[in-house]
């Protein structure tokens, strides 16, 4: 059999192309890497970098118009690229298995989850029915699904996202494969559930001695899970190193830029270092290094060769390889950094080493706290009735927001954080009366928003705007973006046609676009650009207050930092007040002056950013913060892993809604709801156990 010395998986010069109407998309363009037995290889990159296509190529799951053009995939010494489909069937699921990003859409809704796990045994083993049933239940227990004997009979829709991902993992690991490919396994999950799943993968991997290829865009997850990391950019691996080396001494300018552009929990910078531009179009790539167009090091060192000739992936340090002309010579070109060891990082790269929080926080002062109150929300409730029966009577209420009060001062940013379904987006939309409230009051600049007539409300729209999450869905595909931006101006009869045109151009420039963009349609823009357009549309009316509803969560990390910086600049320039709704604690910490944490329709904690992140009072806030993966492999932090899932907002738990998952819960928490009160000066929390 296979030699123990050789790597489990060896990929040599893999090229996978997609033959589309627009041309040949070189999704994977000469990729080399290996995975050793029992190792976790992290494959990190932005969307379009080719990381998923690489993994699908290994599984030979590339369908038309895609094709593996050339290259070698050796698994246990056997070439997968030349195997017949029949032989591949035995490899898939048995020796190599895969789990995907969207657990609920990866499971077939018409079969029970147990049947779907049993299917794997039926396909690949000769076990009889009874044996398969016991093994299936055993797998459910192994992946930590509560009450496995019952849950095997559950259909996918009866499970939460976290449980469905556990089922996927059970399917993936059912036959103890030698290699597990996990493609963004936790991206669709909430951060506390992500912590559970990562923990599970780590434990099972050790138990079963499975090697893992972990594909993700999240450097925090990589730092936490991977032994070795390969960084992909535009279809190629640009850097490869052991995880500690990569985070301590990134060599490739892209890796450096990526590390510098992410907000890190507990480390606040005035400004994020953004990589300019976006991942290039993989059709008709110019010659030379794929990253050249966005590379600041190329300009810094005045390198010309990057535009003409592609560098090789070469050794640059112990076990470290980089694909960059900074470290390689060729003919006339002399590598500016070759042999200079240790390489001094360009200033773009931040030091990911933990710094004492107090010191860092001092770097950026939060905005003035004496300003007047702009928005005053009192006891806001929003219930969604669930109707049923012939008469469509209200059977129950989804209590999306259940009695939330807070204020926002003029010129500040209030961050609103929580997991999915906690009601944070609903709050933003109800304040703007895009949805009618069930109860409560909102005062905006002294006016009562909820008692306004239709006409008054229209006037209010000029002052209160919203930026939405999905840059692909938030622009009308049939309208030129200039028309979209001008919409608000037309509705409110602002200016003549000529003046409106000037405003549009002004807005486009303000958000970093060009005036000729006004005549284009949304599909001609990248995600980051569309989000800029969404911001321009909101800004055109010159509002005082903007609800930012997860404005960066659909964007790649390098684009995310561009948009966050833009929001920051605009706030200073136009004196804007933001309600920043997000699920990502690091992003919220970066942008907010004050932060509110929500759980199941209730606010559990509210304080200034520094107070909240330095000294979280509520156990939910604490566990949320500890669940965030930090992009620093040397940091081994104590983790509070919450049990179970968020309960349904249809029938929230009695007393304190968090008591079912709370590590501190006592009897009182089950009976009485804790008041939301000032526990420290300007620091509010709702918990019986915090005095």
């Amino acid at each position: 059999m296979a030699n123990k010395q050789q790597p489990l998986l060896q990929v040599n010069d893999l090229h996978t192309y997609f033959y589309t109407e627009d041309g040949v998309v070189k999704a994977v363009d000469g990729v080399n890497f290996h995975v050793s037995r029992g190792e976790v290889l992290g494959l990190v990159g932005e969307s379009g970098s080719g990381k998923s296509v690489t993994s699908l190529s290994i599984m030979r799951l590339i369908g038309p118009p895609g094709k593996i053009v050339s290259g070698e995939i050796l698994f246990d010494g056997k070439p997968l690229q030349t195997m017949s489909e029949k032989e591949m069937v035995h490899i898939r699921g048995d020796a190599v298995s895969m789990i995907f990003q969207q657990p609920q859409s990866s499971l077939n809704p018409v079969y029970t989850t147990g049947d779907q796990v049993a299917e794997v045994f039926k396909l690949h083993s000769k076990m009889d029915g009874a044996e398969i049933d016991t093994r299936t239940t055993e797998m459910f227990r192994m992946v930590g699904i509560p009450d496995p004997a019952q849950k095997v009979k559950a259909y996918p829709h009866e499970m939460s996202g976290g449980q469905a991902q556990r089922v996927m993992i059970a399917m993936g690991l059912a036959l103890s494969p030698k290699l597990l490919i996990a493609d963004e396994p936790t991206t669709a999950l909430d951060v506390t559930i992500q912590a559970q799943i990562l923990d599970l993968i780590r434990n099972l991997k050790e138990q079963l001695e499975t090697a893992v290829i972990l594909i993700t865009h999240d450097l925090g997850v990589i730092a936490e899970m991977a032994d070795r990391v390969a960084v992909m950019y535009a279809g190629q691996i640009v850097e490869q190193a052991p995880v500690e080396t990569l985070f301590a001494q990134p060599k490739h300018p892209y890796t450096q830029g990526l590390l510098a552009s992410i907000p890190v929990l507990g480390t606040v910078k005035d400004r994020l270092d953004a990589i300019p531009g976006a991942v290039p179009n993989l059709v008709d790539l110019p010659p030379g290094c794929h990253f050249a167009a966005r590379c600041s090091a190329r300009i810094e060192y005045g390198l010309d060769i990057c535009r003409h000739k592609e560098p090789d992936l070469l050794q640059v340090g112990a076990n470290q390889e980089a694909k960059c002309w900074l470290y390689q010579s060729d003919g006339d070109h002399v590598a500016p950094l070759a042999g200079v060891a240790p390489v001094e990082k360009p200033k773009a790269a931040s030091d990911p080493a933990p710094v004492a929080p107090a010191e860092v926080h001092a770097q950026r002062t939060t905005r003035t706290t004496t300003a007047k109150t702009l928005l005053d929300v009192k006891k806001l409730r929003k219930y969604y009735p669930v109707r049923g029966g012939v008469m469509r009577r209200v059977m129950a209420n989804v209590k999306a927001v259940d009695g939330v009060s807070f204020t926002i001062r003029a010129g500040e940013t209030l961050g609103l954080v929580g997991e999915s379904g906690c009601g944070k987006s609903t709050i933003g939309r109800t304040i703007l009366r895009l949805q009618e409230p069930t109860d409560g009051s909102v005062q905006f600049d002294g006016q009562d928003v909820f008692s306004m007539s239709r006409q008054e409300l229209k006037g209010l729209r000029r002052d209160m705007q919203i930026v939405l999450q999905d840059p692909y869905a938030s622009l009308n595909p049939r309208k030129q973006i200039g028309q979209s931006i001008a919409d608000g101006l037309k509705v409110h009869n602002i200016g003549t046609a000529k003046e409106r045109k000037d405003i549009i151009i002004d807005m486009l420039r303000k958000v970093g676009l060009e005036d000729y963009h006004a005549l284009r349609y949304p599909h001609e823009f990248s995600g980051g650009q569309r989000q800029r357009i969404g911001i321009a549309r909101a800004l055109a009316l010159n509002p005082k207050f903007i609800v930012c509803d997860e404005p960066v969560s659909a964007l790649d990390v390098s684009i995310q930092s561009q948009v966050l910086n833009l929001l920051n600049d605009l706030q200073d320039e136009f004196d804007l007040t933001y309600l920043f709704v997000a699920h990502d604690l690091s992003v919220v910490e970066h942008i907010s002056d004050r932060v509110a944490i929500m759980y199941l329709g209730k606010m559990v904690e509210l304080a200034s950013r520094d107070d909240l992140f330095r000294n979280p009072l509520h156990p939910y806030t604490q566990s949320l913060m500890s669940a965030v993966p930090i992009p620093d492999p040397t940091l081994k932090k104590e983790r509070i892993i919450l049990k179970g899932d968020v309960p349904s907002p249809l029938s929230p738990p009695t007393g304190c809604r968090f008591h079912t998952r709370c590590p501190l819960a006592v009897d009182r928490c089950k009976m009485e709801e804790p008041p939301f009160e000032e526990k420290r000066p300007d620091h509010f929390a709702a918990c019986w156990e915090v005095s």
Partner: protein, 307 residues
């Protein structure tokens, strides 16, 4: 990851697009629309066929020596010949002539019901899909009821109630077609109304009517155009059925549908009697389809770069 998302790169726009943008600076207005519509061959063919039929209908007396109505008992059921290009019918009338004249009725008869059913159906579908609540329930249940009654029966009832003449028959055909548009537009609207750009324009203060017709309608046009262009054939035949029952156009005035219907009786003896008007209907449906597809693509900004 699809090829589409991958080609969505280029943040900031590459420099060559400056030139490009001047080239296609005027990308609205109907001249631009027509230019895009006729950039491809099929819509052009469709337009030519439709125009030829229209010319034939308008200038029929100049294009044929025969009379469409007066029988010629010397020339009953003659096969196609140099004198009668498409043959003659059971009363000896020249089929080519009758098709030219019949176009006056049939083309008119095809588009009036089309306009009636699409305008009413689209509006109802949009309203039901956006307003929701009791309005939605009432509109859609009425549409379901319309769909559940056999369409020919419904047409007869409506035409009968309105009184037997061509216009009333066309109105009846139009009303019967409403439900199809309403259902399709309703389903599309439900999904489009949930998109964030609708929410965003509401936040800008736009009225419900503005949202319905400016934001949602342009995004649900594709299926409307497809149903409309496919329904032409059915409408022409429906007109024939009503006429046959004495509720529409009365003999001897020619219409394509009624010609097909009459010809059916002589299918074995004189197949050309129904084949000739059948071919006219077929050509018309095909031409409108080509045009419809062209309109749909020309309205889609996503395809603008590719055409």
């Amino acid at each position: 990851m699809t090829a589409q998302t991958m080609s969505n790169a280029g943040d900031p726009a590459p420099p060559e697009t400056v030139r490009e943008s001047r080239k296609r600076s005027n990308r609205t207005g109907y001249r631009y629309f027509l230019r895009r519509l006729f950039r491809r061959i099929l819509p052009r063919i469709g337009a030519v066929i439709v125009v030829l039929f229209l010319i034939g209908a308008v200038f029929a007396p100049l294009l044929t020596p025969y009379d469409p109505i007066v029988p010629d008992y010397e020339a009953v059921r003659q096969p196609p010949s140099s004198a009668h290009w498409m043959g003659t019918d059971d009363l000896g009338r020249d089929l080519y002539t009758r098709i030219l004249y019949g176009g006056r009725i049939s083309i008119f008869a095809a588009f009036i019901p089309l306009l009636i059913s699409s305008s009413i159906g689209v509006t109802l579908g949009l309203i039901a899909g956006t307003v929701r609540g009791p309005v939605e329930t009432i509109i859609m249940r009425v549409m379901d009821a319309l769909l559940s009654i056999p369409s020919i029966l419904l047409m007869i009832v409506i035409a009968g109630l309105l009184g037997p003449n061509l216009i009333n028959a066309l109105i009846a055909i139009g009303i019967v077609g409403v439900a199809r548009y309403a259902r399709i537009v309703y389903a599309e609207t439900l999904s489009v109304a949930e998109r964030e750009y609708v929410l965003a324009t509401r936040a800008l203060g736009k009225s419900t009517a503005g949202i319905l017709f400016q934001e949602i309608l342009p995004n649900v046009t594709a299926p409307i155009i497809v149903i409309a262009s496919l329904s032409i054939g059915g409408i022409i035949l429906a007109e024939a059925t009503l006429s046959f029952l004495g509720l529409g156009i009365q003999p001897p005035t020619p219409s394509w549908g009624s010609m097909v219907a009459t010809g059916n009786r002589y299918l074995q003896l004189a197949p050309w009697m129904s084949l000739a008007p059948g071919a006219a209907i077929f050509l018309m449906v095909m031409a409108v389809n080509f045009l419809g597809d062209g309109v749909r693509d020309a309205l889609d900004p996503y395809l603008s770069g590719k055409m």
